[in-house]
Symmetry: C2
Subunit: 328 residues, 2 copies
């Protein structure tokens, strides 16, 4: 019986619980029975004898869980095999999430996280802590939603030299740029449209300034090149100054403009760049994509939904399975 604690009960946490319910049989076949022994958010929790359905219903109805015990206490007090950490990203200091991850690793529990904060702030520290305690720290969900970029880099391409990785790692920026390409509208107008559609936040700066893409790039680069890079190591230019006229010039030469995150041994940058119209990274809408340039496998591209409740929860679940499925 694998015992999970889930911290953070927003979209991703709830999505995971829905997946655990829906996929119970197939999960059982692959890694055996899984039991969620506690769920906590910043203000409330549920533990002991509860059903997952009940937890979802209470959270949806009341906006909180029935017990007053905080996530911090749950992480310290419960006896679990895996901490699933889905709390909100705090890019500056890792926030509470970083504390939860540290606590879990120190007590010898595996951690699966969808939270970029802890990894951007303390990548090497956390990896060493996991190694020292002989547990795994998994984070497929932090980069590219359901796209298997971390597993591709760490496992399938384990023996390859990854010369560079270029990616479209932020769906909001890609939506805005592809709409600008199609309609030749100014940035501000397309941003407003994206906000109305719920694709961009009221304060869009985290996305449009390239911070989100840079955070994902830091995680990818640290993984691939064994670095301890931080957000401040990324050369970063957002998309707010891209003009419709720039698209006129680009399209005339069969190019478009996309926010490209690139990592190599020499480079760590997120900038708007010209991309040939028929290039695999010239994708449209909110899709994400990543292109690995390798020494022996040529270029390998993956593409998929970079965000979304069930997509991100799928990545979290794939990590849980990966910890326990020796045949995987």
């Amino acid at each position: 019986m694998i015992k999970l604690v889930i911290v953070g009960f927003g979209n991703v946490g709830q999505g995971l619980v829905e997946l655990l319910l829906e996929k119970k049989n197939v999960i059982g076949k692959i890694i055996g029975p899984v039991k969620v022994i506690a769920i906590a958010d910043s203000k409330s929790s549920i533990s002991g004898n509860f059903s997952l359905k009940e937890a979802l219903e209470i959270k949806k109805r009341r906006g909180r869980l029935p017990e007053n015990r905080l996530a911090r206490e749950v992480v310290e007090e419960e006896d679990y095999d895996v901490l699933v950490e889905t709390s909100i990203t705090k890019i500056d200091d890792g926030g509470e999430g970083l504390k939860y991850v540290r606590t879990a690793l120190k007590r010898g529990s595996h951690v699966v996280t969808s939270n970029k904060g802890p990894l951007v702030v303390a990548f090497r520290e956390l990896m060493k802590l996991a190694e020292k305690n002989n547990v795994k720290l998994m984070y497929e969900a932090t980069v590219g939603g359901a796209m298997p970029v971390i597993k591709l880099a760490k496992k399938y391409l384990a023996f390859c030299d990854i010369l560079s990785i270029k990616g479209i790692l932020n769906g909001t920026c890609n939506y805005i740029l592809s709409r600008m390409e199609e309609e030749r509208m100014p940035y501000g107008q397309v941003l407003k449209e994206a906000q109305e559609l719920g694709i961009a936040e009221a304060d869009p700066s985290y996305d449009v300034e390239g911070i989100d893409a840079a955070a994902k790039l830091v995680i990818l680069a640290n993984t691939i090149y064994n670095l301890n890079a931080k957000l401040s190591d990324v050369e970063r230019v957002g998309i707010t100054k891209v003009s419709p006229e720039a698209f006129d010039v680009a399209i005339e030469k069969n190019y478009t403009i996309r926010l490209i995150a690139e990592a190599s041994r020499e480079t760590l940058k997120v900038t708007p760049r010209l991309v040939p119209l028929n290039h695999p990274l010239a994708i449209r809408g909110t899709l994400n994509a990543a292109m690995f340039r390798t020494d022996t496998a040529g270029d390998i591209v993956v593409m998929g939904r970079g965000a979304g409740k069930m997509e991100t929860a799928t990545a979290v679940l794939s990590d849980i399975l990966d910890i326990y499925d020796s045949s995987s």
Copy 2:
């Protein structure tokens, strides 16, 4: 010490040997030392105390290996952990390759193959044989070269419902169709160009009639849907009748034409189809791509070189690592 026998010493076999030499250190770190105890092709072999470099040089110089022992005997007589089977695909009856795979599985050795023949002819029989003998039969290299399609389906998406898979699984057809799209030349003329470039064979029927794509589709579908489909179960139309005029009509509506292999619970077909110009499968040149439509992860696309000596050898090596790397 993991002991390999390599059967088939053409492009893929030689590529693997080059990789084993070049990547010795990193392979050692991941799965420990690997030793090739014999290499055989249909007419000759090398075994005992030999160096991999020596084997490559002799084969290149003489076109054969020094000993007269045949592959069949080597597979029966040597004491190996993994048979790497890279002999030429015989799509009708599996050829000698099928016999080698059967022999190795029966004696309790793992098999890694780049040969579609055995899997198209006897998928379920071989899978059961592997299971019964508690060994693995791995075949990433049979579909899409270096693209990790089999691992994506079997592992990362293990708990997902794959509603359908659509792919461009033959680089020759894709090259011909994308050249027809660009130049609006007739099929025969583009085929000739492809033959001159070495992209199409002198007898191109295996590719242009969709047989190669159908063979890969059978392997994918059997893997994903747990079938025992054969080549004859695939509805198949080649590309020889696609006209430049068809491209005129398609392009006018922002579509192109590609040879799409599609599998779902209801469908198994390889046919030229209209694809929107901005669709992830509207790729050009000899690239391959596969799009998995899933229940919880949305659409996931992978793209890469579908053939090539080192690309295919990379897939073979990834399988060998996968057998032994419990952390992978």
